[in-house]
């Protein structure tokens, strides 16, 4: 499993994909937080950092559900299709390792990229701390990153499963988008009007952005964390099942 993790990580950093993912994430989130104005998931107005005059990263974290929903598919699209493309899938399938070890190895490599991205984004709280009169309250920041990591891992699990269904990276990317984006947006004000009333409670139950709302302001809710973990476990499990089935075939 460690060997697979190492191989995947190496392959990530040997291609521009990880760098592009990290670059996009850092620039989009920082740009939105520091300089752009917009609406929050409940339709509330979100001003940029310099206008709100408050040393808080709530608005920064509020960008995460959508940003990760859009960017994580980029990270996942190559996971399984790349094995087909490079012809390593047969080797992988015949190696004396269990299917779950392969899946977890790949999954943990994606989580490592996520962790590196979040680590590089720590310059944002540092900047806010510099600009604050009495410094930053670090509790919500730690909570925000823990929640973001859980949410990111759920996205990764979804993407990993989607990529396992196809040999084409573009199809994997599109398939992940098709699942991730509704998950990200469900229950938010952005999709309020097209959502029928009967679907609204379900949308609020599954929506990542809605689930992330408490976390982004520094309140960790066990229900939200368990939900993200559940999504991760479910999709990783399904991926293991798919790989196992393919292997036996």
């Amino acid at each position: 499993m460690l060997a697979i993790w190492r191989k995947e990580l190496k392959s990530y950093f040997n291609s521009p994909i990880a760098y592009i993912f990290i670059w996009f994430f850092l620039v989009v989130t920082a740009l939105k937080f520091f300089f752009l104005r917009g609406e929050g998931p409940q339709g509330q107005l979100r001003d940029n950092f310099f206008v709100t005059q408050e040393a808080s990263l709530t608005a920064y974290f509020s960008v995460f559900p959508i940003a990760l929903g859009v960017l994580v598919p980029m990270l996942c699209m190559r996971m399984w299709p790349e094995e087909y493309k490079s012809g390593t899938i047969e080797t992988l399938m015949t190696l004396p390792v269990r299917a779950w070890q392969v899946v977890i190895g790949k999954f943990s490599a994606m989580l490592s990229i996520l962790a590196i991205t979040f680590a590089l984004s720590l310059t944002v709280p540092w900047s806010v701390n510099e600009a604050a009169v009495v410094g930053l309250d670090w509790g919500p920041i730690i909570g925000g990153y823990v929640g973001a990591f859980l949410m990111g891992s759920a996205y990764c699990a979804v993407g990993l499963l989607m990529s396992s269904f196809t040999r084409e990276q573009v199809i994997a990317l599109l398939a992940t988008f098709i699942v991730s984006l509704p998950l990200a947006l469900a229950g938010t004000a952005y999709v309020e009007s097209p959502t029928p009333d009967w679907l609204s409670p379900i949308a609020k139950f599954v929506g990542f952005a809605v689930r992330f709302q408490s976390i982004e302001r520094g309140v960790l809710d066990l229900r939200d964390m368990f939900y993200f973990l559940s999504v991760t476990v479910l999709f990783v499990y399904l991926n293991i099942t798919v790989v196992e089935a393919r292997r036996l075939k």
Binding site: F13, N14, P16, Y19, I20, I22, W23, L26, V27, A30, L31, F34, G40, Q42, Q44, L45, D47, F50, V51, T52, Q53, E54, A55, T58, L120, T123, S127, E130, A131, A132, V133, V134, L136, D137, G139, P140, I142, G143, F205, S214, R217, G218, V219, L220, D221, L222, R223, F226, Y227, S230, V233, L234, Y237, L238, T241, V242, E244, A245, L248, K249
Partner: protein, 635 residues
């Protein structure tokens, strides 16, 4: 052979996937009823307190909250909408959807309905000044109003008015928002209590200048307090003349506010006493006298012409013979026949002298004002230069009727003494609610002039804190225990008999725990005094009429009085509400960062160019190195 095997495998995989999904779904459903939340903020600002949770658990149905927040609001209030949305999300979450909220922008296109709703509720936009460019200012009309609805009941929070003094500070605002929100939810979901105002004045609006003459106006106007009380309670008037003639106070009235009583007859006291014996709760806001601080208008001869003139105020005292001293002493509180003076006080504007002026050939005497600290108007709490209270016992810790940021100004308040032996007779307990600062003292009302002219008042060597408000609780014994009921006097001064059913129902001991709130001042919530404070601060600062400093004093005073009534209405339940008022939430503001500020440039460089740039550079290096390694590029 292999086909059915594959099919079975496929269905096994699907089934196991469905089972895992179902298990996780059930686990999530079960967990959705649990409430495990960790507020990671240092000051636990998102933790909705137990008292708020109590209120949320006490009703069925839905409270809908409509927040009318203008998007055109000046930038300094931009934090407000987010703080409100965050707080209401917590309420929505904790109440399992019993509280729902919606944010409406009345300035948005197509928001005619919202504007009509506001108009129907008599809620107007507040004009606010916003700097435009370096030297220009523009006036914006904005709404920051929250409307709580439960069935046909409604409660309105106007953030500019109710939380005006905290709006500029996100920390303070968040700390007080919960108090107001929970109070509004309580007001719409709970049975309203009835407050009877027993005052020797008609509550005519002071603005209604045509209805009453100028002299009368001075003693009128409890409109601000009344309006505030009406948000939470039903307010009814009790005619003091009828009470003095022996008409009982209906026991349906939960609390009686006995405001600035002028003269109680024996029968009036007996009525009040029996109301207390019947479980009624009474707040006494008592003035021991009135200082003559208004100039007396007169006409003087100036050559052949007549001139509108005035005599300078005398600042002597007209004492009130309210007949309550012995009555209150029986219940354990002695009203001092003096006024409290305090070195921590309000700067008043007084008429120092006058000069002759003319307007269109008409001569008149023009007053010349001067500012001076006035010890007879104590300011509570006493604060040091950093704005912190110098002693922590001025406001009761158990019953904090004032928040830590509140300041109230008392106007000629009398000190109270707790008579322990009388309390013991009732088995009652006492809680001092409000004290003056450590630099205060008493001055007797007898033959004393309470002049604001600094040269005319002296500061004694011995000073100590004075009690100005207290709360007595216990199963009281009647003031008339083992005594005959006093006679009732008719209109013509003739003695008449009590109604037999009233005498038969006489109680000498209260069956239930009673509560009496005594405040040695009544003026401090009087409309005319509040208006004076606003005007004095405005003149001193030569600013617009409603200065934030003055408004803070006004709302602190009104809130203190309304909280005193809440204490009597809700007992210990109110106590937990007051704790909300004193939640400490630290304010995390930014340094002043202007366009082009070096700090802004640094932030921009680090977050948009620095780190992302390094990532791209590293990417380029890796790609280049790989090409070199594969021979695509020769070095």
């Amino acid at each position: 052979m292999s086909e059915p095997k594959n099919g079975a495998m496929f269905w096994n995989a699907v089934l196991s996937g469905v089972l895992v999904a179902a298990n996780l779904l059930v686990a999530n459903m079960i967990l959705s009823t649990a409430d495990f939340r960790w507020d990671l903020t240092e000051d636990k600002r998102f933790e909705v307190s137990e008292s708020s949770q109590n209120i949320l658990s006490q009703f069925e149905g839905t409270v809908s909250v409509k927040c009318y927040f203008s998007s055109t609001i000046p930038k300094r209030y931009n934090h407000v909408e987010r703080a409100v949305a965050e707080k209401l999300s917590e309420y929505e979450e904790l109440s399992d959807g019993k509280v729902i909220y919606e944010i409406i922008d009345p300035d948005a296109e197509g928001s005619k309905d919202a504007l009509n709703e506001l108009k129907d509720m008599n809620i107007g936009a507040v004009p606010l000044q916003e700097r435009e460019g370096a030297s220009q200012q523009k006036v914006l009309s904005c709404y920051l109003t929250m409307v709580f609805r439960y069935g046909d009941r409604k409660s309105v929070i106007n953030l500019f008015q109710d939380l005006g003094s905290t709006l500029h500070d996100p920390g303070q605002f968040t700390s007080q928002l919960e108090y107001f929100t929970t109070q509004a939810i309580r007001n719409v979901t709970h049975e309203r209590r009835t407050v009877g105002v027993l005052a020797p004045i008609e509550l005519v609006p002071t603005q209604d200048r045509t209805a009453v003459n100028a002299e009368k106006r001075k003693v009128q106007g409890l409109q601000t307090l009344k309006r505030w009380l009406q948000a939470s309670h039903d307010v009814v008037m009790i005619d003091p003349i009828a009470v003095n003639r022996g008409e009982p106070i209906p026991q349906e009235i939960d609390v009686v506010l006995c405001y600035r009583p002028k003269s109680f007859s024996g029968a009036g006291l007996y009525i009040l006493d029996q109301y207390i014996m019947g479980g009624g709760r009474v707040a006494f806001f008592v003035d021991q006298g009135r200082v003559n601080y208004d100039p007396k208008q007169k006409v003087t001869q100036l050559g052949n012409a007549q001139m509108q003139d005035f005599d300078l105020p005398t600042y002597d005292v007209t004492p009130f013979d309210h007949n309550l001293t012995g009555f209150l002493e029986h219940y354990g509180v002695r009203l001092g026949n003096s006024f409290v003076e305090d070195m921590s006080n309000f700067d008043i504007q007084y008429i120092r002298s006058r000069e002759v002026a003319s307007y269109r050939r008409q001569y008149y005497a023009k007053p010349i004002y001067k500012d001076a600290p006035y010890p007879s108007w104590p300011k509570i709490p006493t604060r040091n230069k950093e704005g912190l209270a110098v002693v922590d016992n001025q406001v009761s810790k158990d019953w904090p009727l004032l928040s830590k940021t509140d300041d109230i100004v008392l106007c000629w308040a009398s000190p109270l003494t707790i008579v322990e032996e009388n309390l013991a007779k009732h088995g009652a307990t006492n809680e001092v609610i409000l004290r003056t600062g450590p630099n205060s003292w008493n001055r007797s009302l007898k033959d004393t002039v309470f002049s604001p002219v600094p040269e005319e008042w002296t500061e004694p060597a011995a000073k100590e804190q004075q009690i100005v408000a207290t709360l007595i609780r216990g199963k009281f014994r009647s003031y008339y225990e083992k005594k005959e009921a006093p006679k009732v006097l008719s209109n013509g001064g003739l003695e008449v008999d009590w109604a037999p059913e009233f005498l038969n129902g006489r109680r000498d001991r209260a069956e239930d725990q009673g509560m009496i709130f005594v405040m040695g001042d009544a003026d401090f919530v009087h409309d005319s005094m509040l208006r004076q404070i606003i005007n004095m601060v405005a003149q001193k600062k030569q600013s617009r009429a409603q200065d934030p400093e003055a408004m803070k004093i006004v709302f602190s005073s009104i809130r203190f009085a309304a909280n005193a009534i809440d204490v009597l209405c809700y007992g210990d339940d109110a106590k937990s509400m007051f704790r909300l008022l004193n939640r400490e939430v630290s304010s995390r503001q930014l340094k002043e960062i202007k366009e082009g500020d070096p700090l802004m440039t640094k932030i921009l460089r680090v977050n948009l160019y620095g780190v992302p740039g390094l990532v791209l550079l590293f990417c380029a290096l890796v790609v280049f190195w790989r090409r070199v390694r594969t021979g695509a590029v020769s070095v």
